[in-house]
């Protein structure tokens, strides 16, 4: 373990925008012990300072952050340090407060997934644009129609019904229309 690893309490903040902020609040900062302290049996490290994580103190830390309006805290809870372990990180910006746990807002997750699909289609769309121009230069109408159909298919990837049908992050991640797998 790092000698300088602080002791913390983990605070889960429920925000105005419905999202969550995960905040580690330091309760003890450590420093390495001097040789004399080591000989006196203080081990490898010793507290530099310690503070009680009172409600007042945590509120002061939240206030100090001075977050923009949408990230302001509505409420907060002290939660286990591993509260985010096992929570799907792919949809981090869709995290919501679920009691003292972290849940996934599927409406936001679907929007994130649509944005990912838009990024995925950017490359193929660029290639099709070039192919279309080349077909246009030689008057190849058949190829142009074929390419136009593929481009429309790419435009429609965000409308794929499986996106709305997906009820879990795992199901949603699997929704990759065939045209993006080529």
């Amino acid at each position: 373990m790092s000698i300088r690893k602080p002791d913390v309490v983990t605070v889960l903040i429920h925000r105005v925008d419905g999202g969550v902020t995960l905040m580690r609040v330091v309760t003890t900062e450590y420093r390495p012990t001097t040789l004399a302290e080591k000989e006196a049996g203080h081990g490898e490290r010793i507290a530099n300072w310690t503070i009680e994580p009172t409600e007042e103190y945590i509120n002061s830390i939240i206030k100090k952050h001075d977050w923009p309006p949408e990230l302001q805290a509505v409420s907060w809870d002290i939660v286990p340090d591993d509260v985010n372990e096992g929570v799907d990180h792919h949809f981090r910006n869709a995290w919501k407060k679920d009691g003292k746990k972290i849940g996934i807002d599927m409406v936001k997750a679907r929007d994130i997934h649509r944005e990912n699909l838009r990024r995925m289609r950017y490359g193929p769309m660029e290639k099709l644009d070039v192919d279309y121009q080349r077909a246009d230069e030689v008057g190849d109408i058949e190829t142009k129609i074929k390419i136009a159909k593929l481009k429309q298919e790419l435009r429609d990837v965000t409308k794929h019904p499986d996106i709305e049908n997906a009820q879990t992050p795992e199901e949603l991640k699997k929704v990759i229309p065939d045209i993006l797998k080529r």
């Binding site: 690893k5 913390v8 902020t21 905040m23 580690r24 330091v26 900062e29 952050h65 001075d66 981090r92």
Partner: protein, 195 residues
Amino acid sequence: MAASMISQLGAVASVAGTNELGLNESGTSKKANVDQLSTYFFAAASDTVAGKIEIADQSEQESGSDNTKAVTSGRQHFHPSAAKFWIQANGTSTVMQSSYNMTSWAHTGTGDADGTIATDFSDANWCGISSIQVPALRMSACTSALNSQCASVGFNSQAAGTFGVLCSRNTGNGTAVVDQIDPDWYFAVGYGDFA
């Protein structure tokens, strides 16, 4: 200022005061107190002479201009060249792996983290350095291939006691932001004057 030479001490017939010692200079009895003796035996230290030296206080450390006073381990951090805070935090788990002079680390969204400092800077004008560890993305490839992706990080807010960092994935020789990503590790350091 105590006399630094025995010859400068006044001659006496006997040592009369308390905490005084008698000295003999060429057959003349003289008296000296502890201050006078320490001045005589322990001259001020200089670049070439070993001797006694005063300890620099906080303002002298912050000024960083005095060559006659000594730095102690408990005050060296006041010098402008010393980092006033630093942190190594995991990008995904948000664990504070190692830190100095920090009170909190908050993950507000993908590739977006904020910190609060324990002892604040005197104002918002301080030098911040941020970095990341992202082995999955070939950072160096950013300059050699147009469509290769790389990650970059920078401060997006800075106040006397807080700061924020953003980490993004870029493409097109680093000219376009693809999206924000969580790095494996965030690193942040700040230099300036304490409040």
